[in-house]
């Protein structure tokens, strides 16, 4: 098309970026932080104009000549043996370039994850509906689909196992973790006088990421037998490993370039490895570019979701309101293969007892198998389920004991100098008290809590929930715990910053460039973030676990510090020269104006499998959410009047983007609490579209007030920790606790749909009319 469609690049630079006085931050360590000029300000996203004008190229927007369209034939059965696959008829269909089954794969038939148990293409058995069985590449999408439907597969259908209970009965346990601190058993066996003991069971459903852009990728053959993978993803290095494994080639023969990605939320962590590998084997077979983009329905049926869960939670609290012991059994439904379930389970284990001082802890955690699509990473990663159980439980316990639920939490919550349930000392950056105090004030907790409870149809109440979040992959991260950045300053003073983590909408581009601008002391407008490309930087781990600002941010800061130091050493008294002149002088003087920065966790991490002890995460983010709700007891509908989400994130590199992350994360948590649910029948998802799987729209979103608290982390870039996931984690329990405060109903299953709230109300009030 014509040039008038193109956004003039000069225009955007003319929008003046906002620089205003910085808020006070808290430094718990004695350091002399200089005033910051770029970090801490809400600069505009450099990637916004392209996205706003339709110029940003997502994977489906790329047009590549001579490309083949791929389609995946999927299992219609939750459990079956494959007796025979006949492709003869399909081979003869028009436009078909290649058909592949497990027999035709060039190398390993698995997606490399924790245990390499997920096959790329089912060989002898299928274990979930939607599992890939055969592949077609054809000249058009319609031809590929028609040919796939002509492939004949004979199955011997088996009886599937579909729930956590069935999985436990069959002893289909994918993974187990445990944690023992103190002696919980003897506390429960010999309770002190006046001790309050309570046990309850909490369950949760699946949650779908519902990223607006479905998974997709393009693989093209490159020179010297290499392959290039373009796609929507969070973890280019996972995809590189998966594709290299599927093709049986060196990692460096596979170049992965992330395209503009339309949302991830964990759904593009491990999941894109499958479509990328499927497209890659077709590319290997045909030596032509191959495009594989999932439709919404197949994305929903076959890709990862949040694990359904069941938590049996037993607690002992002494007469003064101090938690003495917990005994927790946490189960997650891992789906048909282990994939990432073990790591999800690990995070759940370590956060199960909540952000509280508890001397005696026994936690057992099991990932149970089922004949459903493998569940995987989703914002919160095994924590939201158990946080719901724990914080709904504590709220109920406080109420039973006649203690204000917030006072109960204050009494027990972790402070600097305390140890977590894994025995880890909290040395710094625990802004928990301040978070809770600010959230409490913002929601007007005291007034709402003491509102007269009027009888009638509409009941109003307030609820609060707290949680901690271990930032990064922690002691279980292995080789993925590190990150690198390459920074190159050109002769004209423009700067290229390359990192190995991905911009998935969360704002990484802006944050990395702000850190670079601050450290180099150069104008923000002169900085450019390179596309995330495995050929540009060393393996920097995945874009997950709220680690990007901390990991890549530190790597960028490291690289920029090296360059700035070299410049200062060379320029000496001329180091205050304007940026362009300073750069020019340094280049003339032979100063090396490029550097690689590296990040390692700030504390040594370890974990013991037997006891569940160790320094598990380098730092924690602290969160409190509060909800003010009105429950319609006639319909069961819960209306949130106001939602407050506060976190101690160390330092807000860009407060405007932080607010956006908090509001977006909180709304996903609100959806999880009240409306989002997959309906499964015999392993088949019945609501496999955005018309039937309901997520919050603009009509549903309540007022969401973000609260930012900054207790700097000494090893974080300018004090920052990560927080992208935390707003979601205690969202559901805050709402469930508010419903309890309003109605007296203690709901123990998510989501609390109107049907469930109504049914619970009817059950409680079957004797009266409820009015």
């Amino acid at each position: 098309m014509q040039s008038y469609y193109v956004l003039g690049s000069s225009q955007f630079a003319m929008i003046e970026n906002p620089i205003s006085p910085l808020p006070e931050t808290v430094c718990e360590t004695e350091c002399a932080c200089p005033p910051l000029e770029v970090v801490g300000h809400g600069l505009y996203r450099p990637d916004a104009p392209e996205k706003l004008t339709g110029q940003a190229k997502y994977i489906a927007d790329l047009q590549i000549p001579n490309i083949l369209q791929a389609y995946v034939l999927r299992s219609p059965h939750a459990s079956a043996r494959i007796e025979k696959i006949s492709t003869a008829k399909a081979q003869a269909m028009p436009g078909v370039a290649a058909i592949m089954t497990a027999e035709d794969l060039p190398a390993a038939n698995y997606v490399p994850l924790v245990r390499n148990d997920l096959p790329l293409l089912a060989a002898s058995e299928v274990k979930f509906i939607g599992q890939p069985v055969a592949l077609v590449a054809a000249e058009s999408y319609e031809e590929a689909r028609a040919a796939a439907e002509a492939i004949e597969v004979q199955y011997e259908v088996l009886k599937p196992s579909l729930t956590i209970e069935e999985g436990i009965a069959k002893d289909w346990i994918l993974w187990h973790y445990q944690q023992f601190t103190g002696d919980a058993e003897s506390v429960f066996n010999n309770p002190e006088p006046g001790m309050h003991i309570y046990e309850a069971t909490y369950t949760t459903s699946h949650q779908e990421h519902a990223y607006l852009e479905t998974n997709g990728c393009i693989v093209t053959p490159e020179d010297r037998g290499g392959f290039k993978v373009l796609g929507s993803m969070q973890c280019p290095f996972y995809v590189q490993k998966a594709v290299a494994t599927a093709l049986g080639v060196d990692y460096q023969k596979v170049r992965v370039v992330q395209t503009v990605t339309g949302g991830g939320f964990g759904g593009k962590e491990d999941a894109p490895s499958t479509p990328a590998s499927l497209a890659a084997v077709l590319c290997w077979r045909t030596r032509r570019p191959v495009r594989l983009i999932y439709g919404r329905e197949e994305d929903m049926i076959s890709m990862t979701k949040r694990h359904p869960s069941k938590t049996v939670f037993k607690s002992a609290v002494d007469k003064d309101g101090y938690i003495k012991a917990v005994d927790i059994h946490y189960y997650v439904d891992g789906g048909a293969y282990i994939t990432l379930s073990s790591i999800v389970l690990w995070r759940g284990l370590l956060h199960a007892s909540g952000p509280y001082r508890i001397p005696n802890v026994r936690t057992l955690a099991d990932a149970v198998g089922s004949n459903t699509a493998p569940n995987g990473a989703f914002r919160g990663f095994g924590q939201p389920q158990v946080a719901f159980a724990a914080d709904a439980h504590w709220d109920h316990v406080a109420q039973q004991m006649g203690i204000d639920p917030l006072e109960f939490r204050r009494k027990n919550m972790l402070k600097v100098g305390d140890k977590t349930s894994s025995g880890q000392l909290l040395a710094e950056s625990v802004g928990f008290e301040e978070v809770v105090a600010k959230v409490k004030a913002e929601i007007d907790y005291d007034r709402l809590l003491t509102l007269p409870r009027t009888p009638g149809r509409f009941r109003r109440g307030v609820g609060l929930s707290v949680s901690h979040y271990g930032v990064g992959l922690g002691a279980n991260g292995g080789p993925h715990n590190f990150a690198a950045a390459n920074v190159v300053v050109a002769v004209d003073g423009s700067v290229s910053v390359a990192v190995g983590t991905a911009e998935i909408g969360q704002g990484m581009t802006t944050v990395m460039l702000q850190i670079a601008a601050e450290t180099l002391q150069c104008p923000f407008e002169r900085l450019y973030l390179a596309d995330t490309d495995t050929s540009q930087v060393p393996d920097s781990g995945p874009t997950v676990a709220s680690r990007t600002t901390l990991a890549s941010g530190n790597a960028v800061r490291d690289a920029c510090q090296i360059i700035r130091q070299r410049m200062d050493n060379y320029l000496k008294e001329r180091k205050d020269l304007p940026w362009r002149e300073a750069v020019s002088a340094c280049h003339v003087g032979g100063v090396q104006m490029a550097a690689q920065g590296y990040y390692r966790p700030g504390y040594k991490l370890d974990f013991d499998d037997q006891t569940g002890h160790g320094a598990t995460y380098e730092i924690y983010t602290w969160c409190a959410n509060a909800a003010d709700v009105t429950v319609d007891t006639w319909t069961g509908k819960v209306k949130i009047n106001k939602f407050v989400s506060g976190q101690d994130i160390g330092r807000a590199i860009n407060p405007a983007l932080v607010e956006g992350q908090i509001q977006g994360g909180a709304l996903q948590g609100i959806g999880y609490a009240l409306m989002e649910e997959y309906i499964l029948k015999e392993g088949r998802i019945l609501n496999d579209s955005l018309s039937t799987y309901i997520i919050p729209t603009s009509m549903d979103v309540p007022e969401i007030v973000p609260v930012i608290v900054e207790h700097n982390y000494s090893w974080g870039p300018y004090g920052a920790k990560g927080f992208g996931e935390t707003p979601l984690v205690p969202a559901a329990p805050a709402i469930i606790n508010a419903i309890a405060n309003a109605t007296g109903l203690r709901l123990k299953h998510l989501p609390a749909t109107p049907e469930r709230v109504w049914a619970a109300w009817q059950q409680e009030h079957s004797q009266d009319s409820g009015v």
């Binding site: 956004l7 706003l52 004008t53 607006l212 339309g262």
Partner: protein, 184 residues
């Protein structure tokens, strides 16, 4: 594959289109694949998410629910037609300033829906903004920064009108043959 046996004549972003296309294809696919206007996105293909929203004779429509033949003789405006010579539309500008964009996939449809609202109502309330964007799903932002951007854009355009300066979108030659009730 269906044949390109239909001569589509319409205007897109003010420019006449005369092209042989598949009349049964979704308008979304014709725009993206034949006219290379990939700003409108496919999120669901069922008219639920609104990522493919475009203007058809001034009204926002989900282009995944329109058959190409239905565009015959009509005036279409896509997100690509909203920024002119590098100048962002007021709404787009406010989306930048209010940090309303995250992953960006819903944004083209969101901007079109917001523009449609402001063409109809100069001074919308928050509730009217919520309602107007009700067919556009965003999974990233929690919507509030989008609401703020739309309300601020409305305020700025009202001010421009008071000062006698027409809003920049209405200046676009060819896009809005004035005067007309259905300007877009």
């Amino acid at each position: 594959m269906a044949e390109k046996n239909f001569r589509l004549q319409c205007t897109v972003n003010g420019h006449p289109i005369d092209k042989m296309v598949d009349p049964t294809a979704r308008l979304l696919d014709t725009l993206r694949e034949e006219l290379h206007l990939t700003g409108c996105k496919e999120g669901c293909g069922q008219g639920e998410c609104g990522a493919c929203t475009i203007f058809m004779d001034g009204k926002p429509v989900d282009s995944c629910l329109v058959m190409t033949i239905q565009a015959q003789g009509h005036r279409l405006v896509t997100i690509e037609g909203m920024a002119f010579e590098g100048r962002l539309d007021t709404i787009q500008q406010m989306f930048v300033e209010e940090a309303s964009v995250q992953c960006g996939f819903c944004i083209p449809g969101m901007v079109v829906a917001a523009r449609a609202l402001l063409e109809e109502k100069e001074d919308p309330t928050l509730e009217e903004v919520r309602y107007a964007l009700g067919g556009n799903i965003c999974r990233c932002t929690g919507y509030h920064k989008i609401f703020r951007a739309v309300l601020r854009a409305a305020k700025i355009e009202r001010q421009l009108r008071l000062e006698g300066k027409p809003s920049q979108l209405k200046d676009l030659p060819g896009v809005h043959p004035a005067p007309s009730a259905d300007r877009l």
